[in-house]
Every structure is written in structure tokens, then in C-alpha cells.
């Protein structure tokens, strides 16, 4: 919200005003800080409220939105906002004409349905605000106002909220808000906003022979005990409670191989590799065992160096591998030497 005229007025008064500060502010503190200029406030005050206070003028249509989308957004979100590769889907269907009438997305009651952003978002201002401030992912705040209007129009069109020829602008955005499928889906009837709020659930004060079920109804199955790695290596290994050994059996039997070609853990961690690749089993990217199996041998050095340094897509799936400028040359050498050194076990 900008109240520029108000700001100017106050700025003019500032020089002559000797308004006494309220009680919590010690004498002398008024020399700290200075009035913000109008230009400074405009540069930072980019938020848009649900009542569209703060929304800059502009417009964009579905087709312009699609063009921007394909260039800037589709690589992560998919051409139709439906990708589940990098982020949860933005739009996937599940929104009905009836939802648009009632303002409540009925499919939110169905636990089998994937909740998309458009199913949840009650306020159009949120889409505009967030896309403008934070998108695209790797270059936030690079979109123009009109591009953002177009992108919001495109998203609404993907959700069948508006027609193909729709143009979204500052003059019709309030009317468009009235079409938001889940506009009535938010509740503030709870005690978690105020520190003095009323709790909705309270526990029992029973201390003796309490009537509670003590049958185990959920626990991790054995096969999942290793999903978080070897727990023995994740706790203090000399104290009263050592961790459970949850590494798969074959990890131990291949110890000799592992010693010859130990993974360069430091380089992999520093480079951020482990966020997408794990030793065994596909995560976002292929697992290291598979990579090592495919690229064993020195003839792959140049190829792997290029892929790590510059990224790529389409070799193992549709999730793109970003360029990894954080991997310095030493680390790159270690990682590549390790990748080509074995058959991946």
C-alpha cells in the first residue's frame, strides 16, 4: 500500500516537526533513522492486498500470458501448469462450474485429489503479488506489470475460470475475483491467530489407568527404515543411545569396492548434488549408482564435466539439471573421477 500524497505531506512537515515521541522511545533515539523518500517507498512497497490496494495499473490477455508462460514458467511448472516435477501442480482440473458459482472447491474434501494452487487460492491478489515479487524462480522481479497480468489471465484460463479471449486489467480484476473457485474456502474461525485465542482441541488431564488405546496402529515398515539413510550414522555413535544400523546388507558387502572409490562426500555436499541425487534410487535426478554404471571409463570425463558445469535435460527424464556454478574445479575433478571409476556397484 502506498499513500504517496500522505508521505509527501509528512516529509514536508518532518523538518519543522518536533512531535514528542511516545513513551517507549528514549530521548535521543529520534536522531536514528530518516524519512523514506517517495521513490524509495515505491521501489520496495510492491505488495498487493486482497482489496487490490497497491495494484499497479496495466493489463494482459491470455495469449500474451501463454507466451510469457512458455518462455519463463513452463520449464518448472509444465506447459499447462500441471507439472509435478519441480513444484506441486498449479492447475490440474478438479475445478467445476459449480465451484465457481459457490466459491468453494468441492474436491478439497476428497483426500484422493491432489490439491493444486488454483484449488486453494481464495484471493486473486495473491497470484498477482507473488508472481510479481518472486517469479521466475531464478530471476525474481524481472517481469513487467503487464506480463504479470497476462500470466494471471493464463492461469485462470487453464483452470477454466475465464475464456480464451479474456483480458485481465486493473479495472476488471475485482470483478474477476468474484469468479475465484475457492474464494469462500478460507476460514478464520480458529484460535490460532491471537496469542489469547481459544484452543479448539485440548488434551486429557488423566494420570492413572487412563482409557486410551495402546495398540500400535502405525509404524515404519522394515523396508522403509533405510529411506532416510543409515540411522547409525545420524546420531552420536559413542553415547548411551547409538543409532540403529539401517543400511542395506549389500552396502556392507561391497565395502572393498567402496574403499577403492569412496564417494567425494564433501564435494557432493558443497555442490548441492545430494539435493537431487542419492546413492541408490531415483530422486529428482538419477541415482549415482546408475550414473556410474552408465559413464564408467575415462571417455566420459568431458561429457560429465560439461553436464555438471552447464546442466542439461532429457537424458534421464524431464526434470532439468541446472548448471552447477557452485562446484569449483577441484570438486568437479573429484566428482567426475569418482563417477567414471566404477560400475556403480
Amino acid at each position: 500500500m502506498c499513500s504517496w500524497a500522505r508521505g509527501v505531506l509528512i516529509a514536508l512537515l518532518w523538518g519543522t516537526s518536533t512531535t514528542a515521541l511516545a513513551s517507549g522511545v528514549p530521548e535521543g533515539v529520534e536522531v536514528l533513522g530518516r524519512p523514506a523518500t517517495d521513490t524509495e517507498v515505491i521501489a520496495w512497497d510492491i505488495d498487493v492486498r486482497p482489496d487490490f490496494l497497491g495494484l499497479p495499473p496495466g493489463s494482459g490477455d491470455v495469449w500474451q500470458g501463454e507466451e510469457t508462460w512458455l518462455a519463463q514458467c513452463a520449464s518448472c511448472h509444465g506447459d499447462f501448469g500441471d507439472s509435478n516435477e519441480i513444484f506441486a501442480p498449479l492447475v490440474l482440473g478438479y475445478i467445476t462450474e459449480d465451484d465457481i458459482k459457490t466459491g468453494r472447491v468441492a474436491a478439497l474434501q476428497d483426500s484422493a485429489v491432489t490439491r493444486t494452487t488454483l484449488m486453494k487460492v481464495a484471493t486473486l491478489s495473491t497470484l498477482w503479488d507473488y508472481i510479481f515479487r518472486a517469479m521466475p524462480w531464478n530471476a525474481p522481479k524481472s517481469l513487467t506489470h503487464d506480463e504479470v497480468y497476462g500470466l494471471v489471465a493464463y492461469l485462470l484460463n487453464l483452470g477454466y475460470v475465464v475464456e480464451d479471449d479474456f483480458v485481465l486489467s486493473d479495472s476488471n480484476i475485482a470483478a474477476t475475483q468474484a469468479l475465484m473457485p475457492n474464494r469462500n474456502g478460507m476460514s478464520r474461525e480458529h484460535g490460532l491467530w491471537s496469542v489469547r485465542g481459544e484452543p479448539d482441541v485440548t488434551g486429557s488431564s488423566c494420570v492413572r489407568d487412563c482409557d486410551v488405546g495402546t495398540a500400535v496402529i502405525s509404524s515404519l515398515p522394515d523396508y522403509a527404515m533405510n529411506a532416510h539413510g543409515n540411522l547409525a550414522e545420524q546420531v552420536r555413535d559413542w553415547g548411551p543411545y547409538p543409532g540403529l544400523w539401517t543400511a542395506p546388507d549389500n552396502m556392507a558387502t561391497d565395502q572393498a569396492v567402496a574403499e577403492v572409490a569412496a564417494a567425494p562426500d564433501a564435494a557432493l555436499n558443497a555442490g548441492g548434488c545430494a539435493g537431487c541425487h542419492q546413492m541408490s534410487g531415483q530422486l529428482v535426478g538419477p541415482d549415482f549408482e546408475a550414473i556410474r554404471a552408465r559413464y564408467a571409463g575415462e571417455e566420459h570425463i568431458a561429457y560429465l564435466r560439461d553436464k555438471i558445469a552447464n546442466g542439461g535435460v532429457g537424458v534421464w527424464g524431464s526434470a532439468p539439471m541446472p548448471a552447477m556454478p557452485g562446484v569449483d574445479d577441484d570438486a568437479l575433478q573429484q566428482i567426475v573421477a569418482w563417477l567414471i571409476s566404477g560400475d556403480g556397484g
Partner: protein, 445 residues
């Protein structure tokens, strides 16, 4: 030499001289009498291989044979200008939960609660939750702006903020999604992953109330604050003005030093008792307003789905919660006898009044001993004396806070909120101790 670590600890580094079959057998089935004698044999063999001229059966070789550090010159000062943990603590680090997120920039790392003591989290182990990566900000170029419903929109430099009257306070910081993976069923093995989006620090900074007064905020109209970060996402959250005026800080200090970059260097908002997402990092702006903003993390995320399909919006307060941190899931009791069951309790509405512990799945409860100081909206450490005689046990803790609120069981919570709300799961946690000493995460019903 194998001697330094082994004596007195059965499993410290078994692979160094125990047979693979034996180790796997112990991991799988625990220590039975047969395996115990094999272990003792191995220790004896290891000890015998050292120069130990007069070692008797009851003599501890770590006492009789002076270790290398007792017979050598130590390292100089400033060998590490910024001190580091012992290399023997290398396992105690922040960790990601595999597959939880698909990017490293919008992701989480969890605090290793199972191995920490007291009520403060070491800054380097404070959990991370970033929405668009973390940044290194030059403090000379960082500014805080205060605008909106104020007499004068203001700008402060870091130098000016550090000159202002400051306070230091200890508070917990818990992500609203902490324990969110466990709503439907047990999903993770250890307390690090189930409760590790929880940390506590001493924060130093300037009260938000002072800054708002300095800017002359409109007391009649103002009901909410917008906090905004300086990172790429410029993340925004609406803050209840009541909280902000009560005890919120614009903080630059954490545990006696400046904030760590991952925790918002050089400036973050501290909103005691409120979920972590509202503690905006790399804080660049506070805007005073008369209505909430419905930011991305108040509409698409951090909204709690109820069984009727509505989402609770602006859920902020972290209600009272406790968890036993040791022994806890993924650990193992090696011997019978005395154990100090210990854990943490906290409340976003006040201070911890009482913690009770049950070893039989909630049928019977006895009070735990609270360790001081007990501070509002901070972690309180509790202890409970327990003698384990090899029986199966179901360990739970239950906190009562200063408002009289009692931590609910999972069944009580789910009965009202269902299992899909992701956020604000403060249910009682159960750890099952098996007859073999293995501790597992379980849910009861």
C-alpha cells in the same frame, strides 16, 4: 589403534574389528548371550594386540595405557579461529528428509534434537527453511523500511539499528509444518525428522514497538503488520499487531553473535510463540496496515485443511507441545538399568507449567522434572528417571502450559482436524522401546 573408542561401548565402531555377521546379527536381533560372548572375545583380542604388559581382566586399557593425547603436545591457539565441534561429533548435523522437497532452495533441513542438551540450539544446527534459497547480504547495504499507516515512512541502516536500545531474549522457533509428515501415519524414523523444525536461540534486537512508535504508527486504524524479506522471494507474512507490540523484535543477534546467513543475516523478525514462517528473514520492510495481506504463504501454503474442505487461514500460534528427544526413534538402549529420559516442552501462548511422562502408552503418567530457567515462549528441558528392565515400553510426554492448556493426543487432534491439515500438529509423540532395546516411532490407537 582400536582401543581409544571401544572399551565400555559395545557398538561404537563395530566394523573395525567385529565380524560382519556378528554386527548384522546384533543390528537385526540385538545382543543375545551368544553374541555377547563373541563380543567379549573380540574386545579381548583387540586389547591383547596392544602393548599392555600388565593388564588384568578388570583393568581398563584406556586408563592403564595412557592415550596419545596424554603423551603428546596439543594444538596451538587459533588453530581454528572460529571453533568447530569435535570430529567425533560429525554425525550431529542438519539433515534433509529425502524426497520431501524437489529443490534444495525451497527446502528444509532438520535440527538433530536427539543429541542436543539444554534449551539452546547451537546456531550452526538451527533448522533451515528457505523458500527461494538463502543469501549473503552486505550489512552496509541493508536497510529496514517502515511504512504504511505511519506519520513518517522511515528508513534505518544497520548501524542505526545497532545503536538503538536493544534487548536479548530466549525464544523457540518452530515451523508451522513441524511434525506435519506425521498427520496421517508414521512417516519418518527419528525425532530429527519428526520434530527437528524446532530450534531455540537467544535473540538480540530492537523491539518492534519501539520502531513503530518512532515512525508514529496509526494506533486507531492499525491491526496488522506486513513483514517482507530482502531475498529473491521477498517473502511476506502478515503479523498480528497484538503480537508485534507485545514482544516482537527486529533481531540481528543470535546466541551472542550476529545471525547466521541461513537464519536471516543481518536482520530478521522475531515473533515469539508464532510459527517460524512469520519470522521473516533478511527483513527489509515492515508495513503497518488495517487488514491482512493474504500473501502466498497465507493462501497457498500455511493454511490448514479441515475435513469439510475449508482451509484455516492465518493460523499462527504454536500451541503447547513436547517431545522426548532421548531415547527416541532410531536409537537403541544397549543395557538395562537407569536411563534419564529427557526432552523438550514449549508453548506459544506462555510458559511450560508441567510435563508428565508415561512409559505405558498414556495409561499412567508421572511428573517430569523441569530444568530452569523456565521462560515464556522458550524451550524447557525436562528429565524423567527411568529404570529399564528389558520390558517393552511406550514412551510419551505431555505438557501443560501456563494457560492451563494440555497437549492433546493424536487421536484427540485428528478427531477434530482430520489428517490432511499439514500444519500445527502438536500431538503427543510415542516412542516404542522393544525388548531388544530398539526404539521406534509409532502411533497408538
Amino acid at each position: 589403534m582400536a582401543s581409544d573408542a571401544e572399551q565400555g561401548q559395545l557398538q561404537a565402531a563395530p566394523e573395525s574389528f567385529l565380524s560382519r555377521d556378528l554386527v548384522e546379527g546384533i543390528s537385526r536381533d540385538g545382543i543375545n548371550p551368544g553374541r555377547r560372548s563373541l563380543l567379549q572375545g573380540a574386545f579381548t583380542a583387540a586389547a591383547a594386540s596392544m602393548v599392555a604388559p600388565s593388564l588384568m581382566a578388570d583393568d581398563d586399557p584406556d586408563i592403564v595405557n595412557l592415550p596419545s593425547w596424554t603423551r603428546s603436545l596439543g594444538k596451538p591457539v587459533v588453530a581454528n579461529p572460529y571453533g568447530q565441534p569435535s570430529p567425533y561429533e560429525a554425525n550431529i548435523v542438519r539433515r534433509q528428509s529425502p524426497g520431501l522437497t524437489r529443490t534444495d532452495q525451497s527446502s528444509v533441513s532438520f535440527t538433530p534434537l536427539q543429541n542436543l542438551f539444554g534449551m539452546i540450539t547451537p546456531s550452526g544446527l538451527h533448522f533451515e527453511r528457505h523458500h527461494q534459497g538463502w543469501v549473503d547480504i552486505d550489512p552496509r547495504r541493508h536497510r529496514l523500511m517502515i511504512n504504511g499507516l505511519v506519520d513518517t515512512p522511515m528508513v534505518f541502516t544497520m548501524e542505526e539499528l545497532l545503536r538503538m536500545p536493544s534487548v536479548s531474549r530466549i525464544h523457540f522457533l518452530e515451523c508451522g509444518a513441524n511434525t506435519g509428515l506425521e498427520w496421517g501415519n508414521v512417516a519418518v524414523p527419528t525425532v530429527q525428522y519428526s520434530h527437528g523444525m524446532l530450534s531455540a536461540s537467544e535473540f538480540t534486537g530492537v523491539p518492534v514497538s519501539l520502531l513503530l512508535e518512532r515512525a508514529g504508527f496509526d494506533r486507531k486504524r492499525a491491526t496488522a503488520l506486513l513483514a517482507e524479506g530482502a531475498d529473491g522471494s521477498s517473502m511476506t507474512r502478515t503479523i498480528n499487531l497484538e503480537n508485534a507490540l507485545d514482544d516482537a523484535l527486529v533481531a540481528y543477534g543470535q546466541n551472542g553473535e550476529m545471525l547466521r546467513p541461513e537464519n536471516g543475516y543481518p536482520l530478521r523478525l522475531v515473533v515469539p510463540g508464532v510459527q517460524g514462517v512469520s519470522w521473516v528473514k533478511w527483513l527489509r520492510r515492515l508495513e503497518v496496515g488495517d487488514a491482512p495481506w493474504a500473501t502466498k504463504d497465507e493462501v497457498a501454503h500455511y493454511v490448514d485443511l479441515m475435513p469439510d474442505g475449508t482451509h484455516r487461514q492465518y493460523t499462527s500460534i504454536q500451541e503447547a507441545k513436547s517431545v522426548i528427544t532421548a531415547p527416541s526413534g532410531g536409537q537403541k538402549l544397549l543395557k538395562q538399568g537407569y536411563y534419564d529420559i529427557t526432552g523438550l516442552a514449549w508453548s506459544g501462548r506462555g510458559s511450560v507449567e508441567k510435563v508428565e511422562v508415561s512409559v505405558d502408552g498414556g495409561r499412567n503418567w508421572r511428573p517430569a522434572r523441569l530444568e530452569g530457567p523456565i521462560l515464556p515462549k522458550a524451550l524447557t528441558r525436562f528429565h524423567f528417571d527411568w529404570v529399564w528392565q528389558g520390558e517393552e515400553a511406550l514412551l510419551q510426554s505431555r505438557v501443560t502450559d501456563s494457560t492451563g492448556y494440555i497437549q492433546p493426543s493424536r487421536a484427540q487432534l485428528v478427531a477434530l482436524r482430520g489428517t490432511r491439515s499439514i500444519y500445527h500438529n502438536n500431538a503427543i509423540q510415542t516412542w516404542r522401546v522393544g525388548g531388544n532395546g530398539e526404539v521406534h516411532n509409532v502411533q497408538l490407537g
